[in-house]
Amino acid sequence: MAMSPPPGTSSSAMRNAFGTVLSALILLLIGVLAFSIRLFSVIKYESVIHEFDPYFNYRVTQFLSKNGIYEFWNWFDDRTWYPLGRVIGGTVYPGLTLTAGTIWWALNAINIPLSVETVCVFTAPVFSAFASWATYLLTKEVKGSGAGLAAAALLAMVPSYISRSVAGSYDNEAVAIFALIFTFYLYIKTLNTGSLFYATLNAIAYFYMVCSWGGYTFIINLIPMHVLLCIVTGRYSPRLYIAYAPLVVLGTLLAALVPVVGFNAVLTSEHFASFLVFIIIHVVALVYYIKGILSPKMFKVAVTLVVSIGLVVCLIVVAVLVALVASSPTGGWSGRSLSLLDPTYASKYIPIIASVSEHQPPTWPSYFMDINVLAFLVPAGIIACFSPLSDASSFVVLYIVMSVYFSGVMVRLMLVLAPAACIMSGIALSQAFDVFTASIKYQLGRSANSKDDAEDNTSTNNAPKDDSSSGKTDKGEEVAKERSSKKGKKKEREPADKPSVKSKIAKKRVLVLPLEASIVALLLLIMLGAFYVIHCVWAAAEAYSAPSIVLTSQSRDGLHVFDDFRESYAWLSHNTDVDDKVASWWDYGYQTTAMANRTVIVDNNTWNNTHIATVGTAMSSPEKAAWEIFNSLDVKYVLVVFGGLIGYPSDDINKFLWMVRIGGGVFPHIKEADYLRDGNYRIDSEATPTMLNCLMYKLSYYRFVETDGKGYDRVRRTEIGKKNFKLTHFEEVFTSHHWMVRIYKLKPQKNRIRGRAKKLKLKTSSGLDSKAAKKNPWI
């Protein structure tokens, strides 16, 4: 995008300047598109934080903006995981909060008094604009600016990314995807230029990525894989070394600075690949160096010597590594990473990971929903990347292959696939357009001129095209020789008079298609693009804009709003004591602390499985046992989510099996089989007595039968099993307008009466002791 005129004519300078301004304008529009397509949620609903995790991030940002960065690092949160608490500063990826906090601080410093909430709501759309610009840069490095613009436009509206970055979706992924693409861009840039400047920037971008998201391990495994690939395919160059070695050293040091990563940056298995490749690249570099200074014969001798010694050393190192890894119980891999490598791992061993819907493998329709036509364009893009294969294009090919695998394991990682798919499709579209427009030009030119002139026409017509697209890919190969020119932007404009261009033109001539075919294909491509745009806008407007704390339904007399969650959180925050503890299933922990400002027992962080299992056990126990567990945890209110009245499917009864499973995983007296009738989960009259007497059933359906006289549950589409019952240890203190949230208070302990106490003692001493002790881990 340089402004300095090339040594060519002034008309080509004008064209270059025009092209630069045009692409800058297009990029600006792409940024505006990326931002505004994510505002459907604000327009259709309101400017509000969405879902669950964003509420936690919002709360942390509020704390940060109020108390400053040092307080933030030392923040011990006593409002959650009662009575354990949680060290927020050391267990959170701080990138997102620091980013939003900095934006807020900067805006307020110049007297633009936006609230923290507003900044948080719009962080994700702003960063998606950045991400699409980063995509442009990355794709431009791979296949030229035409492909870059196409890829940026595709990424700006890819539904998969929109689903995680609509306004209000204030989650780590919002900034992490930008960081991911930008890190890759800087890696490719370093690889193409061999500049230490970009290598350093790359390490800093990697640091930002580590700050932002646990998905940074994807980078630190993908880049070593690419380096290894380059070495194996004989593409080792000093540029590769510059691109990789500083990244590992600086990146690891920087990563270790982030409290949540710390020594994990060198200790866990996720990072071992990078160190292994780090060793290999040094060995390879040494070999190339020695090869350079020795004669071929001497070199052969040296090789045999080194290989024999090297093998021994390698064996020792591998043995030590294996021993180290084997000594840790999970082999040094975290649960989430393991479930990536072995898709069945989570469902076998860690129900808490398996219980989260976004950790499930995706279905085929979700691919179509999330990346739409890109799925068809990706193969074409891969083919385009192989002609010719450069370091950069081999990287994006590796990227797409790996991300396709990961997205197949966990639906959430579809997000990592989306940028790769956009880059590939951008390349494919751009190449296709090149071929078709060039053929049309050629055909038109041929019909206008005589047959003899055709040859010349082809070359003149195709030359500018090559300039922008294929000419640039050669750059990557050529760059090695041009170490003198440091400024990347100057380089793009170098005249494409390399011999390879001529061969390109020769190749292009083979690709010339008939006029009609080109026009039809062009129209079809445009239709495909239009279909993509329509789908994306639909997805952004309908599928992904709901904030999930407010539900709406369209009825005959207009829009009906179900705002029960906030109703009950507001009730909790205003009408209970500030130190009261609220127990609920962990899904609602973040929202309760953020919106109601009450202490919760468990939350969405799920770091302590036993604690969650305790709550699960309480919910699956009969009333008295549950009361004892909750009372020992100092709980005053129990919150359950119930959708049976209005048909809200993701309520606690539908999640209840997970509570049983997780609770039973730690406290074996809870058995899943007790809650199932012949393997079926049911709450109607066929349900098991254990099911009908457990706390969750009772709290959900308490006095439900009085609403319609039958107790018809609209989610399960059945009448409930046990209709009239009383609560002895809990009392209803609040139920929201549509019954979606019900809050119960633990009744205070009854005064002890002498005679009764004796009786009770006799009862409990008869063999129930051990069981009671097991039920309740807190006394």
Binding site: D563, Y569, A570, R703, E706, V733
Partner: protein, 462 residues
């Protein structure tokens, strides 16, 4: 009757003390009507005052017992002249006043007559005073199905430093359900009205305490704190933001709240709770929003009209006794309706004081008028006393900050919704400061990028 004896004792004791100026006046006839139908107690007092002294009297005193004086939100007095059909009301000046020899910490208000009352002359006064927080729930805690009963304590006779020849007092209750009332003969009840009197010739400072215990299910909406911010923009609008902290000031809710009972048996369940509020906003109001800390609240209706706009809204949940809620109402009105230029060249804002919610008490009202950046010499004009203060606020792209006139008043009732004025001087050139700043900032950015592109920073020429 013990109460009766006590009254006489007080009367005898009080009549012994001397009030030289006070004894020049006497009240020929006093009629008091106390409206207990909502939680704001309104008392209408008709006094016929006669000067029996030798000197003209310029003013007279109204006395209130110490329990009432702290809950007294407002006292207004009108002089009535003319006969039945052609009555002319003349507002009189009423000021709180300190009397050195006040018995039992009684509080006083001084009413100044329009023209001094000559010897032997008589005048008829209409006095309105409003009491807040004067209905005491009993029982203090009620369950969802019970209705709310309250005590109202007052005196059967009007407390006054003057002799009252004849007087009657009426209490109007919201419903016919009256549990009990203290009997001070003659006293009787008919329907919604309890009548005390007529009592003849009572000495100064006579007092006859009575308690009325009755049902009152009207919404006890009390705004504990209201912060209204009025931001003046000379670009054409007034932005008003109101922060409410609302509570139900009645009998506290006890035990269970059952939604099924609340929904299916509205008539008997939660009769003292309230769920709907009404705010009267200015006409031509636009961009109205209603939200709280955690987002928009969707239950509201706006009706705009020529005289006024009405915003009907519900808090997130019904408010039972003791429950609290916070919310924010914001709206915008066109500037030309409220900002005028005074003859001396200053500008003034003419806006309504008080709280837009109907039938609510505001314990603490803070009204902030944010003047545009660069305005000088602010001064506020109000018909009653408020605490005034000046602050500085920084808003969008401010450099010197905006002057904020802060008006603060406790115990505000709907009768305080009267216009007030804030005068200030402002030069229109300041309106251009911020656009010019933005223009120059962008200009600077483009010039720098121009310079960056054209200057070759390389040391080695290629």
């Amino acid at each position: 009757m013990a109460a009766r004896n006590w009254i006489f004792a007080v009367a005898v004791f009080l009549s012994l003390s001397t009030f030289s100026s006070a004894q020049d006046l006497q009240i020929v006839n006093a009629e008091r009507r106390i409206d207990l139908s909502s939680h704001i107690v309104k008392a209408f007092l008709t006094l016929k005052v006669e000067n029996i002294g030798k000197d003209p009297a310029a003013d007279m005193l109204l006395a209130f017992p110490p329990t009432q004086i702290k809950n007294l939100a407002m006292v207004q007095a009108l002089a009535v002249t003319g006969k039945k059909k052609k009555k002319i009301y003349l507002p009189l000046d009423v000021k709180p006043s300190e009397q050195p020899d006040a018995p039992n910490d009684a509080g006083y208000f001084l009413v100044s007559f329009a023209t001094p009352l000559g010897p032997g002359e008589a005048v008829t006064l209409e006095v309105l005073y409003i009491l807040t927080h004067s209905l005491e729930p009993f029982p203090v805690e009620i369950t969802q199905s019970e209705s709310q009963l309250v005590y109202y304590r007052d005196s059967a006779v009007v407390l006054s430093p003057y002799r009252i020849k004849q007087q009657t007092t009426f209490f109007k209750t919201p419903s016919t359900r009256v549990e009990s009332f203290t009997s001070v003969e003659p006293a009787n009840r008919a329907g919604k009205e309890i009548k005390y009197g007529a009592y003849e010739d009572r000495a100064p400072y006579s007092y006859a305490p009575v308690i009325v215990h009755f049902e009152n299910n009207s919404p006890f909406a009390v705004v504990e704190e209201l912060v209204r911010e009025i931001e003046i923009s000379h670009w054409g609008s007034l932005q008003i933001t109101e922060n409410y902290r609302l509570t139900h000031g009645g009998a506290r809710h006890k035990g269970v709240f059952s939604r099924v009972e609340y929904q299916s048996r509205r008539s008997i369940s939660g009769s003292s709770s309230f769920n709907a509020l009404l705010a009267v906003l200015p006409p031509r109001v636009n961009s109205v929003y209603y939200r709280d800390n955690i987002g928009n609240i969707s239950t509201s209706h706006l009706r705009t009209g020529f005289k006024k706009s009405e915003l009907e809204f519900e808090p997130r949940y019904p408010l039972f006794g003791g429950w609290k809620a916070t919310f924010i109402i914001g709206y915008r009105v066109p500037l030309e309706d409220y900002l005028f230029e005074a003859p001396d060249g200053r500008r003034y804002l003419n806006f309504t004081f008080g709280c837009p919610l109907v039938e609510t008490i505001v314990n603490k009202l803070t009204l902030k008028v944010v003047l545009p950046e660069g305005s000088k010499d602010p001064s506020a004009v109000l018909p009653f006393a408020v605490n005034q203060d000046l602050q500085v606020k920084y808003s969008y792209l401010d450099i010197v900050g905006r002057t904020v006139v802060v008006l603060q008043k406790d115990n505000v009732v709907p009768t305080h919704n009267v216009p007030f004025q804030v005068y200030y001087t402002f030069k229109p050139i300041y309106m251009l400061a911020e656009p010019l700043m933005l223009v120059s900032a962008f200009f600077f950015v483009f010039v720098t990028s121009l310079a960056y592109v054209h200057i070759d920073l390389n040391i080695v020429k290629k």
